[in-house]
Amino acid sequence: MSTQPITKQSVSGEQDSGSTPPHGPVEKRRISNVNVPLTALVAVLSLTVLIPLYFTVVTALKSSDQLGGTGFELPTSIHPENFTKAWELTNFPNALLVSGIVTASAVVLTIITNSMVAYAIARNMNRPFFKALYYFFIAALFVPFPIIMLPVTKETALLGLDNPVGLFLLYTVYGLSFNIFVYTAFIKSIPPELEEAAIMDGASHWTTFWKVIFPLLTPMNATVGILTCLWAWNDFLLPLVILSDPTTRTLPLVQYVFQSQFNTDYSTAFASYLMAMAPLLLVYLFAQRWVISGVMRGSIK
């Protein structure tokens, strides 16, 4: 429960008094009397998640003639050539590079710009301009992408943004609505005295933000970063309509485009799917606790 102090800090007034349970004793009791039947039930339920994953892995390792039967048997022989075939057919390194660049740029740019915008808004909510801006951005939460998809596609093509640069700009801008919501709630919990002290010492507001406030936003930056990363990496519709050059396709888009070429060669198709999912899945396996606490933090405001 390493996140406890942070979540507590950002919990809103409604349950403040209640949200500070004596964690020590509760923790101890949890360890001392484990509910075995419930654990078994959870284990069985977790199979609903694990079996499809297992199925994906074994299918990717089999040769076409091993695919019959129920499909859940272990492969009788391993076929790594499925992966080399998928690698070459879809030009995997290229798609990986595009997805990597788009995702990394979207995450970095989102954290830097969105936190700054949220800070300016949160500290000036008493001014009509900033208040209006806040509601203007939040209102966009109600406008799902499919609704503006046709004009956006036309406009990005017109502006020469029908490429990965346009794509990560769009993620940064479209994330603004939700991220401002998350950031401003957190920024309001930071006492303004901190910045005032820095400003009294002669620091500009710009320096104050980067040197004093931005470091304090680290937990929220992590939350926003994780959510942006998951979105940009896995998104399909935006790359589908924005990217015009076949050499700049992202990983999900490549799976879609090559669907007809995989045809009935399911082993190659599954090898390709697995390679497309693997990078983020591996990161997740190692950063699991951190990712989940980041997402949880985003929901407690």
Partner: protein
């Protein structure tokens, strides 16, 4: 400490009212401009074209509310709305019931809590499109085999090619993936419930079900609202999983609104017409979200 704080008073006000402004404006103006260019202007041009017969290229004329009138006579549009509502409401219910159940289990005194929590979140890390492709294969090849072995007729052939059952396949796959995120939100909610309440309740002899309805659910009702609103809004936009699972078929029985906008707008030369569809769709989503928030929040108030 008293004296410097007093001195800071007037200085603070001065800073706030004059010099501050400029930097703060510089912090928001570039983002505002980009937002207007990439979000507001497309939305406004889109609304403009919804009153024209623009095909996406070439010349166009104003047609007034013609597109809007035609939408309500177009079977394909009407059936896409019917499918999208049916799909989104069913999935929202399945996801929330399932996620709340799993979150309660994960919050109980079980072993390997962190590991299980990690497993249940995995689907949220995966691409919706790719998950759709994997399940497409499972539902088309493996499930029918199981159905045949068990002698269940409706399961003996792929449910994705059955016009009556295909939507259930999409609901199932979407729920499999969406539950992951909702579980985490519910878990976050459950951790805000003070343990003393349960201790007091069990001393009073309240059953588990009673504890759930009288303590747990009222205490996490704000999280229930978040999950319901987020799920419904997200699911009303369904596109990726349908592309991967049925491609809108069989026929057009599982075409979602987003899919009709995409196909008609990009491939069918119906730019103006589909923009009218988008505007109607936007109004529907806004109205539904507001209604949902109002009813759920009223409920929240009732509990407390």
């Amino acid at each position: 400490m008293g004296a410097p704080r007093l001195a800071a008073g007037p200085a603070r006000n001065k800073l706030r009212s004059e010099t501050v402004n400029r930097t703060f404006y510089w912090m928001v103006i570039p983002a505002l401009l980009l937002f207007v260019v990439l979000h507001t202007i497309p939305a406004l041009t889109g609304i403009f074209y919804s009153f024209t017969n623009y095909a996406g290229y070439g010349e166009w004329n104003f047609v007034g509310f013609g597109n809007y009138v035609n939408l309500f006579r177009d079977d394909r549009i009407l059936s896409s709305y019917a499918f999208t509502f049916l799909f989104a409401t069913t999935t929202t219910i399945v996801v929330n019931v399932g996620a709340l159940f799993i979150a309660l289990l994960l919050n109980a005194k079980i072993k390997f809590q962190t590991a299980f929590r990690g497993i249940f979140f995995i689907p949220n890390v995966l691409s919706v499109l790719i998950v759709g492709y994997v399940f497409n294969y499972l539902l088309s090849n493996n499930l029918p085999l199981i159905g045949q072995a068990l002698g269940i007729e409706w399961l003996s052939s792929s449910i994705l090619t059955n016009p009556d059952l295909a939507w259930l396949g999409i609901v199932g796959v979407t729920a499999w993936q969406s539950i992951a995120f909702s579980v985490i939100i519910y878990l976050a909610g459950l951790q805000t419930v003070p343990a003393e309440l349960y201790e007091a309740a069990s001393l009073d002899g309240a059953s588990h079900w009673r504890q759930f309805t009288s303590i747990t659910f009222p205490m996490i009702s704000a999280f229930f609202t978040i999950n319901m609103v987020l799920a419904l809004k997200g699911l009303l936009q369904a596109f990726d999983q349908i592309v991967a699972l049925t491609g809108g078929g069989p026929g057009t029985s599982t075409e979602s609104v987003a899919m009709v906008i995409y196909r008609g707008g990009f491939q069918g030369g119906e730019y103006g017409y589909q923009m009218a569809n988008s505007v109607v769709y936007l109004i529907v989503i806004v109205v539904l979200s507001l209604l949902q928030m109002r009813t759920l929040q009223r409920k929240e108030a009732d509990f407390s």
